[in-house]
């Protein structure tokens, strides 16, 4: 917001290949942005301020409904400023922040404080998810109606899952009355007692495993309750073929949506053999057949979109044996490139479907962005699909460096990210200044 007064309010992006499945755009054209909105799309547009985007692709901005910015409480791992800068560097224009901070986001005063800080400190549109239960303890409901008044966008027990079906059912009923969507991390903690997927790799490595049933049983419970209560439920980070199939079964029977992550779409439990705590994540990386099933479900529209579960951790929490490491991966900065490299260039997912699942569908879910039309907010991502770049842990924009893609060379790089007409990340060298 600092540059708001000094930067001209008009910008023309010239010559990009504009791709947006939600509006049907798929070709080279120009886009004019005025006063933060898309004002004109067509050939031959000129303006006082132009970005020459010849050879680049322009998408509606990506939206990530699952991010941990560790604020308040673990600002050594991520802050609103660094988390939003990492999101902008990954092409994300909208984010939902998860409530498992310290203090936990379970009281209206914490929500209103975060909302105010986001306005000042975030480069992207950041929404606050409050906790579904006090202390994320799965017992007492939070004051959801007061949380909503304070600015909460949704509720979630992410990171811990919910204690019992009975408690979850009441949570869904109350959330429905409060008019808040519920994001669910589905893991049954009586089953999820291990640190990696309970499969061949865990057996060979001698690591305690969490079976796929831990996710599948919890997912089934959540879906059944969603259908019964009528709550608006979003199942996050689906990682098994069976959970994806269960989501498919309930798609027309409940007000339910779902996502999976870049890492569950591109990595498998082969990495368990490294015994490196970096690769610990919840739900755990799965075997090939689960990864395949999740990919097919995303391709076929059973799973609605991608979310990163961006989970920064300090090095002292990750440079540990698997059993002692904290679970979680950085996600924002590598999401598009990892999926483009492995799935699109691998011939397994169309670029249009990738844009649909990173921009359009999550944008619809949050009710803002995700579409490139005249009259809509100018939330845009400009991408160079030909640029190859090495993931360098020393060069991450996030305050942490726990990326599972370190050392890999990925194809496809975010050039610029625009939120409400302002550049919040820019590698064009146009020198317009980035809102910070």
């Amino acid at each position: 917001m600092i540059l708001e007064e000094t930067v001209p309010t008009e910008l023309v992006i010239r010559g990009a290949h504009v791709l947006d499945p939600s509006s049907g755009l798929d070709g080279v054209t120009d886009v004019r942005i005025s006063s933060g909105m898309i004002s004109e799309i067509g050939e031959g547009l000129r303006g006082t301020r132009e970005i020459d985007a010849d050879g680049l692709h322009l998408f509606p901005g990506f939206v990530d409904v699952h991010a941990h910015w560790r604020t308040p409480g673990r600002e050594d791992e991520e802050t609103i400023e660094t988390g939003s800068a990492a999101a902008a560097a990954g092409g994300f224009t909208g984010v939902v922040m998860m409530p498992n901070t310290d203090p936990i986001v379970d009281r209206p005063v914490v929500v209103s404080g975060l909302v105010r800080r986001v306005e000042r400190e975030s480069r992207v549109r950041a929404r606050v998810s409050a906790a579904l239960h006090v202390g994320l303890a799965g017992e007492r409901l939070t004051e959801m109606r007061l949380l909503k008044e304070a600015g909460a966008f949704c509720v979630s027990d992410d990171g811990l899952g919910t204690a019992s079906a009975g408690v979850l059912r009441n949570g869904m009923l109350y959330a429905r009355s409060a008019g808040l969507p519920v994001i669910l991390h589905c893991e049954d903690h009586t089953l999820a007692t291990g640190v990696v997927h309970d499969g061949v790799a865990a057996s060979l490595a001698g690591l305690p495993g969490s079976p796929a049933s831990a996710e599948d049983a919890a997912t089934a419970t959540a879906l059944i309750l969603a259908a019964e209560t009528g709550a608006k439920v979003h199942i996050t980070h689906v990682s098994t073929a069976l959970s994806a199939a269960l989501v498919g079964f309930f798609k027309d029977r409940a007000d339910v949506t779902s996502d999976t992550t870049p890492h569950h779409l591109t990595l498998t439990d082969d990495l368990v053999s490294t015994l490196d705590g970096l690769y610990r994540v919840n739900p755990p990386l799965r075997p090939d057949d689960d990864r395949d099933g999740v990919e097919v479900a995303l391709r076929d529209g059973v799973l609605d979109f991608v979310a990163t579960d961006h989970a920064p951790h300090a090095s002292e929490e990750k440079e540990l044996p698997m059993e002692e490491a904290a679970p979680g991966f950085l996600g924002h900065e590598t999401a598009f490139a990892a999926l483009y490299t492995d799935l699109v260039l691998g011939g397994r997912l169309s670029l249009a479907r990738l844009v649909e699942t990173m921009s359009c569908a999550p944008g619809r879910w949050v009710g803002e962005g995700g579409t490139l039309r005249v009259g809509e907010p100018a939330d845009l991502t400009l991408v160079d699909l030909s640029e190859e770049w090495a993931v360098d842990l020393g060069a991450m924009i996030s305050r942490s460096s726990n990326s599972p893609y370190w050392g890999r060379t990925l194809t496809g790089r975010i050039v610029s990210t625009i939120v409400g007409g302002e550049l919040v990340h820019d590698r064009t060298g146009a020198g317009f200044g980035v809102r910070a």
């Binding site: 006090v134 009441n170 109350y174 009355s177």
Partner: protein, 305 residues
């Protein structure tokens, strides 16, 4: 003499309601006296009660009946005697009516199938509490100027409808009297198939006032519901489902079956406000229950039955 059990209001017609309330008015005015002389009324209370038990006892005694009170303490109930055995015993001893309060829904209907004496439901679990709904109608009709004034009025029933026997009698009773009813509660305090009532479901007392409620009928929030499983906090409940003075402009009335949780469903300064019919509801209990006892025992013959 024809006797009749009185279990719910679900099958009670508008004309029957009018007849009952007219008879209650006759009792209240002293035009009917000694209707229950030589009758024996048994009060079998398997669950604690203050106002219902006292008002039934007064209703019976003022009309000249003998009253036998059984409570959970000091009777065979505390020895584990079953509901059916207890009411059959009372029946065999010659009770002319058995007034039953029980913690399980359907208890009154079950008892009535095993007795020749009529059974009057004085509240069964989360099932029915028909005499409460009748005294509510009586008090409201009285405040509005007569039974016919009920038609077209808007009453919002607010609170724990899921666990409320009062709501399950007030809803059909008020609807039958021509009242437009809406329900105000979070989904955690509504039955899952609340749509079966075909009534509007609103999300706050503010919304109820906006809907045009003439009456806010506040239900009691039981203490055991305040622990966070179904509602997050008393503060949030009071904010959205409690009535306070700002809701009472334009002549909106407040009703409550008692006992009130001050500061939860009703702010303290409203309980005894002029907008409150709470005391009138309690007062109406005696004449309405006299009328029910008289009709059930056949001491007064019903016209519309």
């Amino acid at each position: 003499m024809e006797t009749r059990s009185f279990l719910s209001l679900e099958d009670t017609s508008r004309e029957e309601l009018r007849e009952i309330l007219d008879l209650a008015t006759a009792f209240a005015s002293g035009r009917v006296t000694d209707a229950l002389v030589h009758k024996t009324i048994c009060l079998a209370f398997f669950e604690a009660s203050t106002r219902t038990a006292v008002s039934f006892e007064l209703a019976a005694r003022r009309s000249g009946a003998h009253v036998i009170s059984l409570s959970e303490r000091g009777s065979a109930i505390s020895k584990g005697e079953s509901l059916i055995d207890t009411v059959v015993t009372l029946d065999s001893l010659g009770a002319d009516a058995i007034v039953l309060r029980h913690p399980a829904a359907g208890a009154a209907a079950l008892a009535s199938r095993h007795t020749s004496a009529p059974v009057i439901n004085a509240g069964d679990g989360c099932g029915q509490h028909p005499t409460q709904a009748l005294l509510d109608l009586y008090a409201l009709a009285d405040a509005l100027g007569g039974f016919d004034e009920l038609a077209g009025r808007r009453v919002a029933i607010v609170g724990d409808i899921l666990h409320s026997r009062v709501a399950r009698s007030v809803i059909p009773g008020f609807v039958r009297a021509g009242v437009e009813v809406s329900l105000v509660a979070p989904r955690t305090l509504l039955p899952p198939d609340v749509e079966a009532w075909e009534l509007p479901v609103l999300s706050s007392v503010n919304d109820a006032v906006g809907w045009g409620a003439d009456v806010l009928y506040m239900l009691r929030l039981q203490k055991e519901r305040m622990t966070g499983a179904r509602i997050p906090s008393v503060a949030e409940y009071a904010r959205f489902y409690g009535v306070s003075r700002r809701h009472l402009k334009n002549g909106v009335l407040v009703m409550h079956p008692g006992p009130v949780n001050r500061g939860v469903e009703i702010s303290g300064d409203v309980v005894l406000d002029s907008s409150s019919l709470i005391a009138d509801q309690v007062a109406a209990g005696v004449c309405v229950r006299s009328a029910i006892l008289a009709l059930s025992t056949g001491a007064v013959q019903r016209a519309a039955a």
